[in-house]
């Protein structure tokens, strides 16, 4: 019931704004004490044609072929128009408590059916400015694994309806912890770098549900009726982003211990011991004002211990190029996901064409057509696709 979710979001926002105003810093200086901003996407899409492998393996009776467009939140399109998978709205409240200490809360309401929370705390952190260049943040944030990871919910911040699902398909997208960030500029060169650490527990995580819906029968501990939690602990990472005129380059490294917990018997049972994971990534963006080029790469190194087969590493890569003509931007993108282990059922390639029209500086409408092609050995069912999908969206910020 999307309307009820957004009503709850409204009540939550009203409460937080009232509290923020009550505790807001009222000292000297020209800053606004409390700032309320927000974003939203109203999106709809459907699969217009596709193949059978995922259909034959599905256990939930979905009208497949299906295309998963946001793995972390279980957003999936099927053979009929659906406005739930990608529709969302968020509100962010920033409040200064002193001249150097501030707090931020971001609440997001989603209508994706697989995400059980109605309105969730996406971000909740305190910021302490050591000086104009150094900042410490403690609390809950998005994990900055890929270039658009921390703005993945804000459609108005990028040119497609969504960033490549091949690159952005992670179990977990948030963390609770701390980061220290440095930023500065030297003439036309600017630098932003951070170190982050923390952990995240995701109850009945969406990607796990997607995976189990496709891969296992009901007697398996991974069957969809059985809850599986995902734990990422000991997260340590660093990123650096450099901008010079129209060129931006970004490097990122993240490591963590990954463990899944099954509740098939009611009691929590680890399905594996914690396994070390590492993610190496980079991004290159060139935006001349008219011509746009975006390239991202992630290498997901999975510890060989207790994996079957060993060395089950993932490589995800995307290239996107396009042209902006006044308020209209067109992009053509290709991306792929490769599992270095054989026969996993994960390999796939995606081609997409997208159009964005800016209605105002704070709102846009988009259209996207994409083709998902699983590349699988015989007899292995695809988790997502094969499918041709179309989607439209309206994005706004305020």
């Amino acid at each position: 019931m999307p309307l009820k979710r957004f009503q709850q979001l409204g009540v939550a926002i009203w409460s937080v704004v009232a509290l923020s105003q009550a505790f807001a810093y009222d000292g000297d200086g020209p800053w606004d004490r409390t700032n309320v901003s927000g974003f939203g996407t109203v999106g709809a899409g459907r699969v217009i044609s596709g193949g059978m492998p995922s259909w034959t393996n599905r256990l939930d009776g979905q009208n497949c072929p299906c295309l998963i467009v946001d793995w972390a939140h279980g957003a999936e399109y099927t053979g009929s128009w659906n406005a739930n998978p990608e529709t969302k709205m968020g509100v962010q409240i920033d409040t200064d408590f002193t001249s150097t200490l501030s707090g931020t809360l971001q609440l997001v309401g989603r209508t994706a059916p697989m995400v059980k929370h109605k309105v969730g705390v996406e971000w909740l952190y305190g910021t302490y400015k050591l000086d104009p260049n150094w900042t410490i943040q403690v609390g809950r944030k998005r994990l900055p694994i890929d270039y658009y990871s921390d703005v993945q919910d804000i459609g108005n911040a990028y040119v497609w309806i969504r960033p490549s699902e091949e690159v952005y398909g992670w179990d977990i997208v948030n963390y609770n912890g701390a980061n220290i960030t440095y930023h500065n500029a030297f003439d036309e060169l600017s630098l932003n770098a951070s170190i982050f650490t923390g952990a995240e527990h995701s109850r009945d995580y969406a990607l796990g549900k997607i995976f189990t819906l496709n891969q296992f029968n009901q007697t398996s501990p991974f069957a969809p009726k059985n809850r599986i939690d995902a734990n990422w602990t000991n997260i340590i990472g660093a990123h650096a982003e450099v901008n010079y005129q129209w060129l931006t380059a970004r490097l990122v490294y993240t490591q963590f211990d990954d463990q899944k917990i099954s509740f098939v018997t009611g009691a929590p049972v680890p399905t594996t011991p914690p396994r070390k994971r590492e993610i190496f990534g980079y991004a290159i963006l060139a935006d001349s004002g008219n011509w746009i080029f975006i390239h991202e790469y992630s290498y997901f190194k999975r510890d060989a211990i207790n994996t079957s087969p060993p060395d089950n590493n993932y490589i995800s890569i995307s290239f996107s190029g396009g042209y902006r003509w006044h308020k209209l931007t067109s992009m053509y993108s290709v991306s792929s996901f490769r599992d270095e282990g054989p026969g996993s059922g994960n390999d796939r390639r995606n081609n997409s064409f997208s159009l964005r029209y800016d209605i105002t500086p704070h709102s846009d409408v988009k259209f996207q057509f994409e083709v998902e092609r699983p590349e699988l050995p015989n007899g292995v069912g695809a988790i997502s696709g094969p499918a041709k999908e179309i989607a439209v969206s309206y994005d706004f910020t305020f």
């Binding site: 901003s37 104009p132 921390d150 902006r324 500086p361």
Partner: protein, 144 residues
């Protein structure tokens, strides 16, 4: 100095009006944003530094003093195209990324050029921008 400025502005306005009546396509009448600072501020900034300040990639003047950039909603489009080389749409996308990732706070925004001039006049470390036609002698023009 003040009367000369007023005279120049009056002349410019007259030329603009005549050019408009004659439907000339190229006139000097299009909005010309200028960057202004407090009269006590003697900083000299390159165009690149002005850009970095208004994109909040740097938060201090070259002297080390913390800068307080302020935006004029009335002149934002012209300023962002001329000094930031960004359209209002790409500028908003840039800010969405900063704001919703906790990398920066939004700049103070005021509706009218007159409000920006008053703010800059009253805050020693403020830096703002207005249309050149609205500049008054109570602030210093840093760049145009």
């Amino acid at each position: 100095m003040g009367s000369r400025s007023t005279l120049t502005q009056t002349t410019l306005t007259l030329i603009c009006a005549l050019a408009g009546m004659a439907s000339l396509s190229v006139t000097p009448c299009e909005a010309e944003p200028v960057v202004i600072v407090n009269l006590k501020n003697h900083e000299s900034l390159s165009p690149a530094t002005i850009k970095q300040l208004f994109l909040e990639r740097v938060e201090t003047f070259p002297s080390g003093a913390v800068a307080f950039p302020v935006e004029s909603l009335a002149s934002q489009k012209e300023f962002s195209e001329r000094f930031l080389q960004m359209t209002p749409e790409s500028l908003n996308a840039y800010w969405a990324r900063l704001l919703f990732t906790g990398q920066a706070k939004p700049l103070k925004k005021l509706a009218k050029d007159e409000d920006v001039i008053k703010f800059v006049r009253d805050n020693a470390n403020a830096i703002g921008y207005v249309d050149s036609e609205n500049v008054v002698s109570s602030v210093r023009v840093l760049a145009q």
